[in-house]
């Protein structure tokens, strides 16, 4: 999921950085004292989730949790993902500093789409039907992962044209089990949050 350094051409890197600038700006603006601690907590969850791996074929894919971040943090998911990716690049050499823009965009846009899809359900049905809301959130985060995989595959298209179909197929197929597992995890977390601490989701 993290694109390493030295694969993508220059203009893709600059384009990715430019595209992720707007959500980042909006996210930093939306941060305030009330939700700072929450954002830091979920950013660290995202940071650690990338280390949990599910082996598929020659490559292996990891949990992403960007659906959960989108549902809980909303627009603030952008700075959370950006800072977590920056630290992953510095400490573990996952991804890289130059590909930070592209990677942030690939993970933030699906998170924001997930937020936009699940928000009406959380606002209106959270107290009435907690289980159904959790299931909807799980399904939404499942598709968030697949959307992220698709975006990453599209970014890799710019790198080498002849290998695109193999790489893209591999990426999306290898993320299907991850998506399912992540959907289940997200559904359970949302269910728990609705029961224990509703204010977090509002």
């Amino acid at each position: 999921m993290h694109i390493s350094e030295g694969i993508l051409p220059m203009w893709t890197l600059i384009g990715g950085a430019g595209l992720s600038a707007l959500p980042l700006y909006m996210g930093f603006k939306a941060l305030n004292e009330r939700n700072m601690a929450k954002t830091a907590l979920f950013a660290s969850a995202f940071f650690v989730a990338s280390l949990i791996h599910i082996p598929i074929g020659p490559t292996s894919s990891h949990l992403i949790l960007n659906g959960l971040l989108g549902i809980v943090l909303g627009p603030r998911a952008a700075p959370a993902i950006f800072i977590a990716l920056l630290l992953q690049a510095i400490i573990f050499q996952f991804g890289g500093i130059t590909t930070l823009g592209v990677n942030t965009f690939n993970m933030t846009l699906p998170a924001l789409v997930c937020y936009w899809i699940t928000r009406p359900f959380i606002n209106n049905f959270m107290t009435k039907y907690p289980v159904r809301t959790a299931i909807i959130c799980g399904i939404a985060s499942c598709f968030t992962v697949l959307l992220s995989a698709t975006l990453t595959a599209l970014s890799l298209l710019f790198a080498n044209k002849e290998g695109f179909w193999l790489t893209s197929k591999m990426l999306i197929i290898s993320h299907v089990p991850v998506a399912i597992i992540e959907g289940i995890i997200t559904a359970f977390i949302i269910k728990g949050l609705i029961k224990i601490k509703k204010e977090v989701l509002l």
Partner: protein
């Protein structure tokens, strides 16, 4: 309190969770048990594959051929990764895939610097380079062996001794190389210390953002 009682308690507690119109606060024992189970499930999907994301490539030269090994950052071997080897001028010298031990080897034709790229699909790529010095006419060992020197018995004996020494040296070198290899893998692994440190940095950064926002207002 015996185990049966604990199990009954947990089952009752879980049943309480599914009752309608009741605010469910789990019993501490249930909470601990479930957090333990979920941790083992997450880590237990494949205990060897936790923390394997980055890939690494190592190259070593043993006088005749260059050996390339591909590893995930937990030490697992990469099977079927594409390998591309370029020389100083950026010309592709060799191309291939790693075998099921994660190995690929090729025989270089001239000395110089070689760039090695291991691509494990899906945007995972590792680069390494090796600079080698080929000897002009085979290795020194074979040069000595080929020297025709049959009329002097003493020198013959010397050659045999040298041969034996060379063999032991080679054996020891191989052992040292393997040890260096293992150490490098160990060094490149993701460590718990890094993870906890990273979480600390994260909270620190968000703390700085809070302070900056407060000063601005």
């Amino acid at each position: 309190m015996n185990i049966v009682k604990i199990i009954i308690l947990i089952i009752k507690d879980l049943l309480r969770a599914f009752q309608k119109n009741s605010f469910y606060r789990p019993h501490p024992i249930t909470l601990i048990l479930f957090s333990m189970i979920s941790m083992t499930i997450i880590m237990g999907i494949n205990p060897n594959n936790v923390y394997s994301h980055r890939i690494m490539a190592f190259a070593s030269f043993d006088g005749g051929k260059i050996d390339i090994d591909g590893y995930f950052s937990n030490g697992n071997k990469i099977k079927g990764a594409n390998v591309i080897i370029k020389d100083n001028d950026g010309v592709i010298v060799a191309k291939g895939a790693t075998n099921k031990d994660g190995k690929f080897s090729f025989i270089p034709q001239k000395s110089g610097n070689y760039d090695i790229i291991v691509d494990a699909h899906g945007g995972h790529i590792a680069r390494t380079n090796i600079s080698i010095q080929l000897e002009e006419s085979g290795s020194s060992l074979t040069a000595i062996k080929k020297t025709p020197n049959n009329d002097n018995g003493i020198e013959d004996k010397n050659i045999n001794e040298l041969n034996k020494d060379d063999k032991t040296i080679l054996r020891e070198l191989r052992g040292i190389r393997q040890e260096v290899h293992a150490l490098r893998i160990e060094y490149e692994k993701v460590k718990l210390r890094d993870i906890i440190g990273g979480i600390g940095y994260l909270f620190g950064i968000f703390g700085v953002i809070t302070i900056v926002k407060k000063i601005r207002r």
